[in-house]
Symmetry: C2
Subunit: 302 residues, 2 copies
């Protein structure tokens, strides 16, 4: 891997907090997002427009977006699963909506109450409206590397899902290892299969559930992916398993990238401060390691 | 990375336990080693012949080696830092001695009370005696990817250390990221630099201190390294930092290897049992993730 640049999409305020048992109030979520926006991060998944009865951690997305400051150059995105969610999102002045298509029918039914094919159709309709409103529109293919219910997922199936979604006028497609089972070889195989179906920019979303997340992230960049999701602190692990990890941690990823000569445009010191803030609010140790281990060589953090 | 084989050297009983605050008695250490020997692991670093006043966790190496069963095909190694340690090791019927040369003078002085050059000389003398006694002899170059006192370590310096050690008649050289700072690019660079100086088999030793250990391990194999150190459970992290990790975990590495089509000849189910045993004896959660997350697809563990 040589010198280069990469875009990190910070998903702590959404995918991270959504999977924590502690429910934060609006001011705490706003403070967390603003701390992240001060690090140099240019893309932040800030909220989710889903049913608050199902995901209470993500309630009050409108209040969060009304309160949060909007620094120049920072793009906020929100998760949208249906037309109702899109209407809410459009009213908040978001820059980007992210939709989800689960790669297997079983998981799709449990997550969104529809088949994969139905989710692709819904995505096309939402994407058209969002694009007309001037927003960036991305689709995340969830369980793209494996499904907790159906097991292995064929790369050809994921590539076909991407091909069908790409027709909807997206700005980017993300491949998500939702349950953290992939290894670098899987990443190379799937990125190549998807690349054959679309010229859209590709993003990857890794969880470190089995300690392969960082290897996968670095491999994805070698394979041509231009953006990576990560959550500050690595928050979002199941709160009932102390060492279980959520998303790969933004600071640990930033360390690996920086030492590899890859510029993510993010300052480590304020990023570690944002992670320390959310760790204190969540009341348990972050899975991220860099905050404890420190940068190397010492004193290098900007 | 394609199909292949790799040798895993299990270092939990030595590098793992040495860095835990709980001191286990001889029967517990013997039970742990025997549980590991039943997994298919063929190389186990079982003991250390250092001063028990400095490393009380490793006291009574003779008693451990006298009690432990010796299954066919399992090679036990012990850490030896000087002539006194070698004399003790030779009396126990070990198969292999492992020596350490620290790549920087400052760290070497703190670790062994001598400069790097002096450690290389001592190594040559010990190696000659051990080889004459029919043992395998390996040298681990510690702090090969970075030093906690001197910072960056030049690959040329490590390559020169390896060149000088190789003259002593070794069977293998190991490159250790003792403080867990390396990224895959560092691994590629250092392995190439060392390979230019010796045709000896190369082993790597990674800590997951900054979440780069598994990426480094997979990269080392791609770069031609044929053996990897790992500790079951990932034990050996500093006991005063809950999420700080020690060596890369044998089970997490085995998962990544298996899914990459690389055979390590180890059965996951008894390995997880060995990790569960040592977790209970140490009284805190292992950093390894696979025991909690489970294999994928479910039910695949042998």
């Amino acid at each position: 891997m040589g010198a280069g640049v990469v875009e990190i999409v910070e998903v702590g305020p959404r995918d991270g907090l959504q999977n924590e048992s502690v429910i934060l109030d609006v001011p705490a979520r706003v403070a967390y997002i603003e701390a992240l926006a001060a690090t140099g991060l240019r893309r932040i998944e800030a909220v989710s427009f889903v049913n608050p009865a199902r995901v209470p951690q993500m309630a009050d997305a409108e209040a969060v977006m009304a309160a949060v400051s909007r620094p120049d150059g920072v793009s906020y995105s929100g998760l949208v699963l249906n037309k109702r969610g899109l209407d809410r999102a459009l009213a908040t002045g978001l820059h980007e909506v992210n939709m989800v298509v689960v790669a297997t029918d079983t998981f799709s039914a449990r997550n969104q109450g529809m088949s994969t094919a139905e989710a692709i159709s819904a995505t096309a309709s939402i994407a058209a409206t969002a694009r007309a409103a001037g927003l960036s529109v991305t689709v995340t293919v969830a369980a793209a590397f494996g499904c907790p219910f159906e097991g292995e997922v064929r790369p050809e199936r994921v590539a076909e899902i991407v091909r069908q979604c790409a027709d909807a006028g997206l700005t980017e497609v993300a491949l998500a290892d939702t349950i953290g089972v992939a290894v670098p070889q899987d990443v190379r195989t799937l990125v190549a299969a998807v690349r054959a179906e679309t010229s859209l920019p590709l993003r990857c979303h890794f969880h470190n559930t089995r300690n392969t997340g960082y290897a996968n992230a670095l491999t994805a960049l070698e394979a041509g992916v231009t953006a990576l999701d990560a959550s500050s602190g690595g928050i979002g692990g199941c709160p009932f398993a102390p060492a279980a990890t959520g998303n790969i941690a933004t600071e640990d990823l930033l360390y690996a990238l920086g030492r590899s000569g890859i510029d993510a445009g993010i300052d480590m010191t304020p990023l570690l401060a944002a992670s320390a803030y959310i760790e204190e609010r969540l009341g348990h140790a972050n899975p991220a390691l860099l905050g404890r281990a420190g940068v190397f060589p010492p004193g290098e953090a900007s």
